[in-house]
């Protein structure tokens, strides 16, 4: 009798739970509107929380994804492309030496807090970064400033590079002139980086009240950078909330935006760190899109009616040699043999999403400075064996490192890619010692310290300049590559200070040819990281730089 009562109770509880759940779930519609409101809310699944709301302090993609909707830069990239176009500056120019950059700003641009955009505001922003002191001078907080503009007005550490920024002058209300110590290939591209977004003058005043602080292992981000109310930009959306407990950053449409009004009324960037959980949330209708879709999920998502637009390629995935670690790799014939041994087309066909291509050099073919005349290394097992024999390294053994538990935009499945390459190398008689490692910090530390004979890495460009790729790797000696080639180092140094764009691009073409003759590593592929949207959404134009402007999107 009692058992029967218990059973009835259990069944009743289960039924009630089901009814409650059904009732709760039916309260929500598929357009991201909650039961009680009519807000058209676009919810995007982010892989991580932003580091802060001030992109000047950050160097990660999730921060920039949010900040690009809110803050704008002097220069921008064409929608869906990599060509520079005007951003807050309608036009721009430099002197012949490339040391004086003049920006003519758009008229009638207002910040979210009602302040006007003027040349003085632009200069105040640049001067703020240049005059950073204390903890702000740590690369933890000023990585991009130091990478592009060098040091500060008063460097506090001898490790900090000398500043290349001289000053900024507002010559007219809407004309700002930025002066540099010497020309650099990073300009004008660097003016499009999210880290150099222009903030409202009122925001700058607030920032001045807060100071980043820290000693020992305490580098804290300043309070303002965590406060959505403190940060005002000129973008199509304004920050309205950051619910850290729920992992959600909310931005709302800015109706006084100088450009086209955003299609979505509100966007929520919701952190879902697990890739499988992002896919399930999309399938359940809880989010309307997410980035870095696993290639293995693309077909299934497309079949289920989701939109997976193909991005242009703007990255390079490569196999690197650390020549110092393995004497055999110092022989160019051995490096060529490895290049011939790899079936890169097979890897692209089986591992990369639609749009992936074999790379012939260390820049993608979409970038100015790409050369059509580099030495090519076709897949040829016989040639690989012959070269190894001739070099006296038919019994070559290599330690091959690869990362685990990670997906990168250029490397969606590292372990599978490693297995394919290992099989290719073994087919020509190379003995491969696999060394799987956790991505961070183990793998990054080991490769950076020159601890692997072969390893896999890549790079996604920040802007359309070949130095952003080539200079990153080959501008001087580093342990991770373990070679010294003065011809390449000097050619890159010369290109980095060449102010004439056409002359610089010609130099890049030559450098690409030099690099591929020397073969410090094997460029494997360029591939577009996949992004997915629900079928209820008109997605924004996708960007090869992964800089989508969500204001272009709308609900159908």
């Amino acid at each position: 009798m009692h058992i029967a009562r218990s059973k009835v109770a259990v069944i009743a509880a289960a039924v009630s739970l089901g009814l409650v759940a059904t009732a709760c779930s039916s309260d929500r519609d598929s357009n991201g509107s909650d039961g009680g409101g009519s807000t058209e809310r676009f919810i995007f699944g982010a892989a991580g929380d932003p580091g802060s709301l001030d992109p000047s302090l950050e160097s990660d993609g999730e921060t920039f994804r949010v900040s690009r909707q809110v803050l704008e830069t002097l220069l921008d990239h064409e929608s869906g492309g990599t060509e520079l176009i005007g951003g807050l500056a309608e036009t721009w120019d430099s002197n012949d030496e490339g040391t004086e950059w003049t920006f003519n700003l758009r008229d009638g641009v207002t910040f979210h807090d009602g302040e006007e955009l003027t040349a003085q505001v632009v200069c105040d922003n640049f001067d703020r970064w240049y005059n950073w002191t204390g903890t702000y001078q740590s690369t933890a907080l000023s990585y991009y400033w130091q990478a592009e503009f060098g040091g500060f007005a008063e460097n506090e550490s001898e490790d900090t590079p000398p500043p290349n920024y001289v000053g900024c002058e507002a010559t007219e209300d809407l004309t700002a002139v930025i002066n540099l110590e010497e020309p650099s290939s990073v300009f004008p591209g660097a003016f499009s980086l999210a880290a150099f977004s222009i903030h409202s003058p009122k925001s700058l005043e607030r920032y001045a009240e807060d100071e980043a602080s820290g000693e020992g292992d305490n580098i804290s981000r300043p309070d303002y950078s965590q406060d959505p109310e403190a940060i005002a930009g000129t973008g199509p959306f304004q920050l309205s909330n950051w619910n850290k407990g729920n992992g959600e950053v909310t931005v709302t449409r800015f109706d006084d935006y100088w450009g086209e009004t955003a299609g979505f009324e509100e966007i929520v960037f919701r952190t879902i760190s697990d890739e499988g959980a992002r896919r399930q949330a999309l399938e359940a209708g809880e989010i309307h899109g997410y980035d870095l879709v696993a290639p293995s999920d693309v077909d299934a998502l497309e079949s289920a009616g989701f939109e997976v637009p193909v991005r242009g390629v703007f990255n390079i995935f490569y196999l690197a040699f650390t020549q110092e670690r393995n004497e055999a790799l110092q022989d160019i014939d051995v490096r060529r043999a490895v290049a011939h041994a790899l079936d890169r087309q097979g890897l692209v066909d089986t591992q990369l999403p639609e749009g992936g291509v074999v790379a012939t050099q260390f820049v993608p073919d979409t970038i100015a400075g790409y050369s059509d005349d580099v030495t090519l290394y076709e897949y040829d097992e016989d040639a690989a064996r012959e070269l190894l024999d001739e070099a006296g390294h038919a019994d070559l053994t290599v330690d091959f490192c690869y990362p685990t538990e990670v997906t990168r935009p250029y490397m969606p499945a590292p372990a599978d890619m490693f297995e394919l390459m290992k099989a290719d190398l073994e087919a020509v008689g190379v003995t491969v010692n696999p060394r799987p490692m956790k991505w961070t910090p183990d793998y990054l530390d080991t490769t950076r310290d020159g601890g692997c004979d072969l390893y896999l890495l890549g790079w996604t460009g920040d802007f359309n300049d070949a130095y952003n790729f080539l200079g990153t790797w080959f501008d001087g000696y580093s342990k991770e590559w373990g070679f010294r080639n003065d011809e390449i180092f000097e050619a890159l140094a010369a290109s980095s200070v060449e102010p004439d764009v056409e002359a610089r691009e010609a130099m890049y073409e030559e450098i690409n040819e030099l690099v591929m003759d020397f073969l410090p590593g094997v460029p494997i592929s360029s591939s577009p990281p996949s992004i997915v949207f629900a079928d209820s959404v008109n997605p924004p134009t996708v960007s090869p730089l992964t800089q989508e402007k969500f204001s272009e999107g709308s609900f159908k």
């Binding site: 690369t139 804290s220 809880e286």
Partner: protein
Amino acid sequence: MLRLIVRRLLQLVPTLLGLSVLLFLWLRMLPGGPASARLGERATEADRIAMEAALGLDKPLWDQYFIFLRDLLTLDMGVSTRTGRPVWEEFTQRFPATVELGVTAILIAVVVGVPLGYLAARHRGGWMDVGAVSGSLIGICIPVFFLAFILKEIFAVGLGWFPTGSRLTTGINATEVTGFHTLDGILTGELDATGDALWHLVLPGIALASIPLAVITRMTRASVLEVLQEDYVRTAESKGLHQRVVRLRHVMRNALLPVITAIGLLTGSLLSGAVLTESIFSWGGIGSFIRDAIDGRDYPVLTNFILIIALVYVLINLLVDLAYSLIDPRVRVH
């Protein structure tokens, strides 16, 4: 009892101190460090060295430890090297989420497990016993992450009955008072927030409850079987006492003692062991944060979070010991 409490709390001091030394050394023995983790793949060797200096990691080890200890004694837990935010702020923001999920799981496990274990024992060899024993075996064997994935695939993605993750539906404006969404909704009168929070708790709660439920069911069954053999139960039954009185006063009261010990231990482990469940359900508690902190070699977060968890673990078990005397007057804690 007061002496017991004071003694236990005093015992905590050397325990936590020893743990802090071990944690400090273990973490620094791991390959890599927070500098590389924070800088990512774009940084050069020079960047890493500069970052290590900025984080104070270039100082001698003993120096770093004493700075840590000095800060801890002044209740300064430092700043997360990964997020750049104060460790205490990160902890208080996430701890309620973990507690809410852990309590839900343990409630499910106790409410279902204890009666199920009892019924299995009373009907030993019957269908309910076989079902409970094999069910609990399955509960222990199925990996939590797999169960969580299947639950989501069926009840969230397939049927749409429950959300796939997170603590609240996007757009629900819940006023935060304590950080416990279920409680805050009641305190502020935002009952829709409480309902929504409960709705979000169902799947992760069930997934996390699977192992404790299995353990509690089996322990209750074994314990009840043992007590049922005791002379005093037979005496009570032969005296003609009502079945209900025999079950509650004599059987369950005695059988529950080891079960309560298990519940205490399981509750403590749920606070630190919900890493996978929290990650899969994007729960935003301390479990998933600790996982990210390990990947990022976030020394301040790892050291302080683990010390706090150890403290909470000891306190929960102290409460369990104190609960003994309430359940069984024969037990007097010393």
